[in-house]
Symmetry: C2
Subunit: 249 residues, 2 copies
């Protein structure tokens, strides 16, 4: 008898993936402040300006996945993500795309287009966190990079929260700027359906693969958390209160 | 008449490079605490455990430089750095190398070898900062990667500080553990002489190149600062005091 544990059922595996929502950056102190309406105008601007680097890195990350993927069917689905973010002009449709929508969010919070696109407010550690995600997609097998996109499971909630709370908590933000979040509500749901279906199938071949998928999802959650840390440290005065509860032995 | 500014003299350029010491991580709150002797045993252990990831990444970074470098003379000099960190057994000499010395530093602060080498205490953002340095060396021309090593200009000071202060401020640390810092005092001085000579020559071809070298040095200073931020957040309880003095416009 093999001592290798049997794979979890797909339902059980999916529940374990969804269970990682506890590490989603919606729980990060900076995002808690954002949802509570206690960020200053400059802090919200700082978040939009820093997060822009994530936005412009997404299509580069997705292109890395395409460049590693020898499955045409997957490429035909996955390319939609690049089109969504970069925008496109195909067959009479002219979509300015998610990056342009984010620049307009920048304008809605009072930044100029150049403030956003110049990256002049980008904190180095924010860049390092985002680049970790791009480099993961460049260097790991495309199946792993697909699994790393599954933080989208948790994204509709945070987008909806912003749509619901900003108009009352940050009434000075031009409401047109919320277009990005509204658009992503639909797109993220569609994307994650594809990514989740693939991950549940591919990684359910063995328990070890399922555990690897959880590790990959955790890596991506860590990227988003580290991005929030970097933004927090660049936007907030902090004070060291004392040592953390024992980390090292 | 060209509007391109003339290159700085090599003396002036070197002074500008050295002037960047104001952003060196010796000024980071966590390192200030370390020098003041106020870190707890667990915090010092946390620093050693996290910083180990930097130590094991250095030879990978240097191998990336070799792999991009078509100049045999440079490779013959640069390979010494890999030998220093990985250790070697050549011509009857048996040098365990800097990584092994760092593991012994880990033991000297009360960690087990496995605590250090397993990376179980590594903060994700510490990994992202260090990986940014490795990826810079992988993707940029080797001449730029050489310039990025120039934070070694500032390293002897911080090593000497540890050698001087630890025996009284952290008397529980086994003194044999300080061997790494003592060894690096000599090695870093030799390495930086080579890197600095090359940078002053190569980047003095134009003012634009000199400015690029300063930008590269700043990138590497940002890597070390972000590493210290990651360690601080993983080892310290912090409190958000309020917004930073205006960052965004």
């Amino acid at each position: 008898m093999s001592s290798t544990p049997a794979p979890w059922s797909q339902e059980e595996f999916e529940a374990k993936l969804r269970g990682r929502s506890t590490s989603y950056h919606i729980h990060h102190p900076f995002h808690v402040m954002m949802a509570a309406g206690t960020l200053t105008r400059a802090q919200l601007q700082g978040w939009v300006a820093n997060r822009f680097y994530y936005q412009i890195s997404i299509p580069i990350k997705d292109a890395a996945i395409l460049s590693n993927c020898d499955d045409r069917e997957i490429r035909r689905e996955w390319i939609q993500r690049i089109l969504d973010h970069d925008g496109y002009h195909i067959g009479g449709i002219d979509d300015p795309g998610g990056i342009e929508a984010w620049i307009r969010l920048g304008e809605a919070v009072g930044l100029s287009r150049d403030d956003v696109t110049s990256l002049r407010y980008l904190a180095p550690a924010a860049r390092f966190a985002v680049d970790a995600y791009v480099n993961f997609a460049r260097r790991q097998p495309w199946q792993e990079a697909v699994a790393s996109s599954l933080t989208e499971l948790f994204a509709p909630h945070i987008h909806q929260q912003r749509i619901d709370t900003w108009p009352t908590q940050y009434p000075w933000v031009d409401a047109a700027g919320l277009h990005y979040f509204k658009q992503r509500l639909t797109q993220a749901r569609r994307d994650v359906e594809h990514g989740l279906r693939f991950t549940l199938d591919y990684f359910s071949q063995t328990r070890a693969l399922q555990e690897r998928a959880l590790e990959i999802l955790q890596f991506k959650l860590d990227v988003l958390w580290a991005l929030a840390d970097a933004i927090m440290l660049s936007q907030c005065e902090i004070e060291i209160k004392g040592p953390k509860a024992k980390v090292a032995p």
